[in-house]
Amino acid sequence: MTEILRPGVGFVFMKVGTHAGEELDDIIARKQREIADAGYALWGYGGNTCHPFNTVQPFARDYVRRDGVIYLVMQPMTSRHSAPPARAAEFSRDGVTWEQVPHAINVLGSRYAIAIDELRPEAFDLPLEHTKVAIGTSAGRRGDRYISGRVDKGCLELDDDGLPTGPSVTTVRIGLVARMVEPYAVLVRSPLLDQDPGRMAAEVLDVAGET
């Protein structure tokens, strides 16, 4: 029995598999090396759910403040992902200030990444119908109704009653867990793929002004 699934616990759920042409086992080995070398790794992801700074960051901060720790729990699956394996050179916590990705860390073919400092295989069942979305426009929706179709990840909370004692109809098998670390999630970009002059530029509010 895993110690992660305590009543009311918050966690990020994600389906994982081949990414940018790299097999999952190879990704896991590479990320574990990066954690050993740099102290942390960036687990890349994409899509339009789990935006780093208006979803994952505030969600993770809330639960870390309460519980002291938050995990990324992953369901391995067979998948194809053929994005170009371009290495992200920069990451940003807020979309305004960008920093260099350390040489020891490689995020390939992703727009977003979750910061982790521990990655390990761990197998357990997750009954999605006993979870709910914890943040955003789907907040309150049951996990099994949310994780469907094109939605393959989410910021979820286990029901206060905890795990069901009876059978569950929407159980998924978790095979991999990672401990998340500040800043929890970031934007990443690659100079080769992001030199689009049509991209937006933000004009920042004058903090000393009326706002």
Partner: protein, 278 residues
């Protein structure tokens, strides 16, 4: 008398022209675009509702303003607003409105770069307003109330308005937002004249079933009044304005100039040439 007969194919194709002209949405600022069929129906409703009126759009990533003006100009609708001004903090959206209006000769359509946390710049003699604001899932609708306030100010608190907000019977937060919206409207001297539930859907990957409603507001008799517009700096009102990312820090989204607007960008592709004939 406006005709009730609409050439649906022409309407969808015209809205397709508008969609082609829109900048890509920025999810971090809650720019979530309405689906095309719903844009056609929404444009028809707004054109009819605002027939002959001067209309202010407080934000308009969807480009309903452009649809309404364009379909009227093309004769697809026999009715529509006398003029439309779009106020938006995204220069890409303002420029897209201007570009389309110039290209299609829509003289009644214009745009102004404006952040709704700043005082409303005027003019304030509009007959009505339209807003599809950030839906306030993370601040109990406070962002909806800010956009609605600016719309009311655009009519000197004496006009009508349409506010588009989330409407989902399964979730709690849209109900709370709708209740707070109605409370704020009453406090400002407006009442809910009509509500059209669950009428729009969106390109929203993490909530593909989420719908929105039209809340149609009208000022109570004698409610019109002069009054200076003030900046909004109350920490309670601006917290989590665009979702749970804290206080807003961006005044304007600036467009990076490019000459090939609407065309594939050169960074998206490379040419591999045929071998030269021997």
């Amino acid at each position: 008398m406006a005709s009730d007969v609409i050439d649906l194919q022409a309407a969808i194709n015209a809205v397709s022209d508008v969609v082609q002209n829109r900048p890509r949405p920025l999810r971090e600022f809650d720019q979530i675009y309405m689906k095309t069929a719903d844009m056609v129906l929404q444009s028809e409703f707004i054109a009819r509702w605002a027939d002959g009126k001067r209309l202010a759009f407080i934000g308009d990533g969807d480009a309903i303003s452009v649809c309404v003006a364009y379909l009227r100009q093309r004769g697809i609708f026999g009715y529509g607003p006398a003029s439309i001004t779009v106020f938006d903090f995204d220069e890409r959206i303002c420029n897209a409105v201007t570009r389309f209006a110039e290209k299609e000769g829509l003289e009644s359509l214009s745009s102004t770069l404006y952040n709704c946390l700043d005082p409303f710049p005027g003019p304030c003699d509009f007959d009505g307003f339209y807003t599809n604001p950030p839906w306030g899932a993370s601040n109990a609708g406070e962002s909806v109330k800010v956009f609605m306030q600016r719309g009311m100010e655009a009519t000197r608190h004496g006009g009508e308005g349409v506010v588009v907000v989330a409407d989902d019977p399964e979730l709690e937060w849209p109900k709370l937002v709708l209740a707070n919206l109605q409370r704020a409207a009453l406090d400002a001297g407006f009442y809910v004249q009509r509500l059209m539930p669950e009428v729009h859907s969106y390109h929203l990957d993490d909530a593909p079933d989420l719908r929105s409603c039209n809340v149609i507001l009208r000022a109570l008799p004698g409610n019109a009044r002069e009054g200076a517009s003030a900046a909004i700096s109350d920490p309670v009102r601006i917290a989590n304005f665009y979702g749970r990312q804290g206080d807003p820090i961006v005044r304007y989204i600036r467009e990076t100039a490019r000459l090939d607007y609407g065309k594939a960008n050169e960074t998206e592709y490379a040419l591999e040439l045929l071998e030269s004939p021997k």
